[in-house]
Each structure stands twice: as structure tokens, then as C-alpha cells.
Amino acid sequence: MHIICLVKFVPDVSAFNYDYNTSSMVNTHTKMVLNPDDVHALSFALQVKRKWPETYLEVVSMASPSVTVYMHDLLRLSVDKGTLLSDPLYAGSDTYATSEVLGTYLKGQHYDCIITGSRSLDGATSQVPAQIAQMLGLDHLLDITEVDMNHLSSNEAQCTVETDTEIQTWSIQMPAVLSFARNSRAKLPYPTFEALQKDVSGKLFMISNQDLGLKRDSVGLEGSLTKVVHTYEAENMSRAKTVVGVNDEGIDLLVQFLEKRGYL
């Protein structure tokens, strides 16, 4: 089976802090991490490869060349090929322009299955996978929690998804776009010592717009159909608050407070 896994590196937002008193972001350090939903997707692909070693796995990301080191990390995990779609023209692309770039690259590739995360940590709109499916004329499933390894082939996958109200099991014919939900139990393996020593740069391919030939006005800021015009600082919503400690007096005040407002 030939799997293409689309990934995104995102700022580690858990390191973000917001100071409500000064209404500003406190960004002490922001490192990039592999988007959590994509971790689940890639860990699934690696699981497939462990079971069927003949599986060919390519990881594709659209990003600036600065993520090269992170791509190298993935290439140390039995990923066969890495592709970085990178061009200064692509900077500032919204979801529409991003899916144009990724979709155009994928149109020229061979694959049985394209897998992605459902949402990115930074944008969280889950638009790109569905738009790629539309461009390639493929079926798509979002929020996959599990793929049945016993019913997986290059013709069909059986996937469990979780919606707001239901758990559903779907049979989907390949090729298709499968988008995985975040799963805290999904982890990427550590590279072996041997892999750490290896030079993997030969497995990483850089693709620029010269290769893809997209029109200048269909990518980047110019090709974007939505535009962030403002970034807001959160409105000050402070309330007159009572502050107590965890002691008898504090608990008494808390109980009085709850009683007065009718919750006890």
C-alpha cells in the first residue's frame, strides 16, 4: 500500500500565556511541534508499515524550509520519503490557497490513501483535508478514532468516527482521504540509535512553485479568499471577586456565597 500522510508543524500553544491584566500575550518560548491530530495519523501509518513492511510511506508538508529539521526527525521513523512544498509565494496562504498547493502536488502522485489530522492546533478549522478530497474527487472521513487493521487493504478501509452524538463505523473505498481525530494515547516511537546517526537528508525532497506551476494570484496572500484583518485582545471581563484560602473561614464564605445565589 502507498500512503501519503499530510502533516503540519504548529507552534506549541501550551507554551502560550495570556496576561489578562495587561491584555497581552506572554510568549516566553514557542517551539514547533507536530500537530497533535497529525501525530495520530502518522502513528497509524507507521503501525500499517510495521504490519506490512512493503508499505510505502511519504510525509508531505507545506511549510517554510525552517521545518527541515523537524522533517528529518520524521524521516528517522521508517518514513520512506519526505516532501516539503515550500516557496516564498506560498507565505500567508489561507486554507483555500493551501489546499490549492497541496492538491496540485497530490494530483501528480500515486497513492492508495491520503491520511491527515482532522484539525490543526493553530487554525483548527479542519478545512484543508475536505478541500483536498474535493480537488482530487475523493471521499473523505473526518474525526476518525480507529481504523480496523483486519479490514484494511488498498481497496477498502473500515473506520470508526465519533460525531457529536454518535459513534459510526464506515466502509470507505480507496483511494480516499482519511482524517484522524486527536488521540492522547497515540505517540510516535523514538528513533533507534542507529537511525539517529543516519543522514536522512537524501530522503527529503523540496518542491517549489517552479515545479508546481501555480499562478501567482492563486497562492499566498494574493490567492487567499479570507483575510485576517484584526487580531483582538480579549476584552477585560474582570468581575468583582472574593478571594479566600482553603481554610474553615474560606469554606464558610464559599458556602454562604453558594447559598445566597441559590445553588445550595
Binding site: 497533535p36 460525531t163 459513534i167 478571594v243
Partner: protein, 313 residues
């Protein structure tokens, strides 16, 4: 008149007219004409507020047919040239809307929280970076305006006697044979945190008191919810997650145990009557929007509180 098409929220049919508020926010109620594309039985409570309802025959078979839904919306668009198309931020809606955007060659703004008008242009507000930032986004493409809207953010306000909408029936396109739903079962969660009046919510600082949260919720006649941190650690189910990647809640009392409060969390609590936070840090963001703050260890605090109100077991 500005024309708006709303795709029915088939997971929560009675919530569909909440999306009308978004249309009214953009164009004003007097200048709005609305259509509902309806897949379930057309009860009055679902139709209220709409001018026209397009009912899909045997729609229950097509509720999850993403490509079929797109086809139906596009053919209605060809007929009526809507100024806006509003899609609920459900599982199906989140697959439908991006496809439509590509087919119509328009931008899509997802999961908006608010609408503002600036110098005659519309600006849509949403959160980004896990709710740590609020962005104002404008549409650069031609009509229609395409949006997805998450449940619980907007609510329909009925005014006067409801008028009966015009009804039209259409057939669903034949579903593609390449996808088949083999099994459907309801999620086991017995409650929906969006309906709760009292929520006891645990965050990263509540790892060791998950069971106590249940007891406190019981004593306050409420339910337990959780922040993303607790869900990510596998200590709570995703369907009780509050915030951008979870659910938007609107309880009367919100008890935040060990939650620091990213913007997404704090924004979602704007209309909550009473917020109590239990936190080891008085300078945690959530404390500044709380009515009552207990600074200290959550375990000791909840145990003392339960004992004091005689709810300890």
C-alpha cells in the same frame, strides 16, 4: 432582500434556527429572506423563523451523504443565488462546507463567534491558536458568504407569532456506492454539557481529583465537564470538553477546578452568571473573571466543602 440558505443541524434539529441569528446579524431581520434545507421530519419547532423550507424526501437516509448534500445545496444556489450559506459546525457540516467553498470558489470562515460591521464591511470573529487569540476575518471573495457556526454560540430569539414557511420537496441525489455506513450507535454520555445549568469543570490542575469533581457536581445538582488538558491526558471523554475544540456551554454556575483559562475558555464563559474558581494560582486568567476564588489545593478544598454541606460519603 438578502437571501440566506441554512443547512439543517441534523444532530440537533431544533438548533437550526439559531443560525438565522447570524443572517440577521449580517443583514438585519427586515432585510433577510431565509431558506432551510431540511433532512428530518419538518416539525414546527424546527421550521420556526424560516421563510422557506426545502424538505429532502427520505432525508434521514441522506443526512451523512456529504457529497450529496453539496450537490443539493449547489442546485438550490443555482436557483436562488443566495447571499450567504450557513452550515452548522457539526461533523457533517465540517466536511460539507470546505467542499462547497472549493466548488463555489469562495472563501470559508469556520466556527465564528461574532459578527461586526466595520465601515460597511463584515468582519467575522473567531478564535485561533487553541483559543489563545481572537481574529477578525474578512471575506475577499465574491458572493456567497460561506460560514460554519458551532452550536451554542448563537440562539434564536422568537418575536411575535410564527409565520408558516413555504414548503418545497426535493429528492436527494443517489448516494455514492463508495462509502457505506455499517453501524451507528449513540454516544454513551447520558448528558449534554450544553444543557447543564451547573457545571463543575476540571482542568490540568484537577488530575488527581477527577472523582471528587463528580461528587461536587452531584452535590450542586450539576454535571462534570473538562478542559482540553484533562481530555488530552485521557482523564475525561472528549464529549464533555469545553472550549474551541470542544463544546460551547452556557451554565448559570461554572466551577472551574484547576483551570487556568485560555481565551477560548474565558470567551466561552462570557454569559455565565456565576463563576467560581479553585486554583493554586491567584493570577491564573480564569481568576480575573471569577466571582469567587479559592486559592489553594483543589482536593482539600472540595473535601472540606463536601463535608461542610454534608455531602461527603
Amino acid at each position: 432582500m438578502k437571501k440566506t440558505l441554512v443547512l439543517q443541524d441534523t444532530e440537533h434539529p431544533h438548533r437550526s434556527n439559531a443560525l438565522l441569528e447570524v443572517a440577521f446579524g449580517m443583514y438585519g431581520k427586515q432585510h433577510s429572506e431565509s431558506w432551510l434545507l431540511c433532512y428530518t421530519e419538518a416539525h414546527d419547532s424546527i421550521l420556526e423563523g424560516f421563510d422557506h423550507v426545502v424538505v429532502v424526501k427520505d432525508g434521514y437516509q441522506a443526512v451523512n451523504d456529504v457529497r450529496g448534500i453539496c450537490t443539493s445545496i449547489l442546485s438550490l444556489y443555482d436557483e436562488h443565488c443566495f447571499d450567504s450559506i450557513l452550515i452548522p459546525g457539526t461533523w457533517v457540516g465540517r466536511m460539507v462546507a470546505p467542499r462547497l467553498a472549493k466548488q463555489l470558489k469562495v472563501g470559508l470562515i469556520a466556527e465564528i463567534n461574532d459578527i461586526q460591521k466595520k465601515d460597511g464591511t463584515l468582519e467575522f470573529i473567531r478564535t485561533a491558536y487553541s483559543g489563545n487569540v481572537l481574529c477578525g476575518i474578512s471575506m475577499q471573495s465574491k458572493s456567497p458568504v460561506l460560514l460554519t457556526i458551532k452550536g451554542g454560540i448563537f440562539s434564536y430569539k422568537a418575536e411575535g407569532a410564527p409565520k408558516a414557511p413555504t414548503l418545497e420537496y426535493i429528492a436527494a441525489p443517489t448516494p455514492s456506492p463508495t462509502m457505506k455506513c455499517l453501524k451507528r450507535s449513540p454516544l454513551e454520555q447520558s448528558y449534554d454539557i450544553r444543557d447543564s445549568e451547573v457545571l463543575v469543570s476540571g482542568g490540568g490542575g484537577a488530575k488527581k481529583v477527577v472523582l471528587l469533581l463528580q461528587e461536587l457536581a452531584k452535590a450542586l445538582h450539576g454535571q462534570v465537564s473538562a478542559s482540553r488538558k484533562l481530555v488530552d491526558q485521557g482523564l475525561a471523554e472528549r464529549n464533555i470538553q469545553v472550549g474551541q475544540s470542544g463544546r460551547v456551554v452556557n451554565p448559570k454556575l461554572y466551577v472551574a477546578v484547576g483551570i487556568d483559562g485560555a481565551i477560548q475558555h474565558v470567551e466561552g464563559l462570557r454569559d455565565v452568571e456565576t463563576i467560581i474558581s479553585i486554583n493554586t494560582r491567584e493570577d491564573a486568567p480564569i481568576c480575573s473573571i471569577s466571582d469567587f476564588v479559592v486559592v489553594g489545593d483543589a482536593k482539600i478544598c472540595i473535601e472540606k466543602l463536601l463535608k461542610r454541606i454534608g455531602a461527603d460519603t
